[in-house]
């Protein structure tokens, strides 16, 4: 198995939800604060160890997703680049204080199936991070020389 392919392959998940499509879409978007695991995934949780205050999904053109931290800061997670309720939305995703980092893409589609709703999520664009990772790795390999030299100095003194 090629490691390279795995690293950049899209993540795909499908889930059946026993509710009407409009409700499924609204739960994912305007009610994201009701279910998103902020304790596991939020910038505040990463930095402070406890969940962010909330997360807000602003739909529509030019919309964003952002978290509000316990200190009242608003930190962007994503730009909403397509918003077609109740069928589909697409996000350019980078939940980070480092907004110069490349964004990955999350596309979520909602399909009616016999009174229930199938939700398909695709998280792709990992190769964008890969390009940056390659650059970063280059930086690190130079960094390592410095670090190892300093380590050797300490270890042998």
């Amino acid at each position: 198995m090629s490691t390279q392919a795995t690293e950049t392959e899209a993540i795909k998940r499908s889930i059946m939800v026993d509710c009407p499509i409009e409700h499924a879409f609204a739960t994912f978007t305007e009610r994201i604060h009701d279910w998103w695991p902020l304790g596991k995934h939020s910038i505040d949780a990463y930095e402070s160890g406890s969940p962010a205050e909330t997360v807000v999904f602003q739909g529509g053109g030019g919309g964003q997703i952002y978290e509000r931290t316990k200190n009242g800061e608003e930190l962007k997670w994503a730009d909403v680049i397509a918003y077609e309720p109740p069928h589909r939305f697409v996000l350019a995703w980078n939940p980070s204080r480092k907004q110069d980092r490349p964004q990955t893409v999350i596309e979520v589609t909602f399909t009616e199936e016999g009174g229930k709703t199938r939700v398909d999520l695709e998280h792709r664009g990992w190769e964008r991070l890969g390009e940056r990772a390659a650059e970063a790795r280059q930086g690190y390999s130079e960094g390592w020389e410095h670090v190892l030299a300093s380590y050797a100095e300490t270890a042998t003194s």
């Binding site: 994912f28 279910w35 998280h123 930086g139």
Partner: protein
């Protein structure tokens, strides 16, 4: 001395690939002391390869997602959990509009 240091760091690295760990947990699986592991972690942190965060009273070390493209692996797991939470919220009768 260098070679040993290098090999130990690589072993620490491999452990962190499977998830965040505390210093003690790392040291338990290696033939080196806890202070030695801390020293190696400091070097790895300075090189931007590992980050540290506090979890309650514990200090956990993990690979830096910015540096290593570990982000995909993280979300591979994360979406399972997030979508399960989403399903539960969407199917919660009391909240259905």
């Amino acid at each position: 001395m260098d070679a040993l240091g290098d090999r130990t760091r690589r072993a620490i690295f491999e452990q962190l690939r499977s998830g965040p760990r505390a210093v003690g947990e790392i040291a338990d699986e290696l033939p080196v002391s806890r202070p030695a592991v801390s020293q190696h972690l400091r070097v790895l942190k300075e090189a931007g390869l590992v980050t540290e965060r506090r979890n309650g009273t514990r200090r956990l070390y993990r690979l830096d997602p910015d540096g290593l493209g570990e982000l995909r692996d993280y979300f591979d797991d994360f979406w399972n959990e997030a979508l399960a939470a989403f399903k539960a919220a969407a199917e919660d009768e009391r909240r259905k509009g």
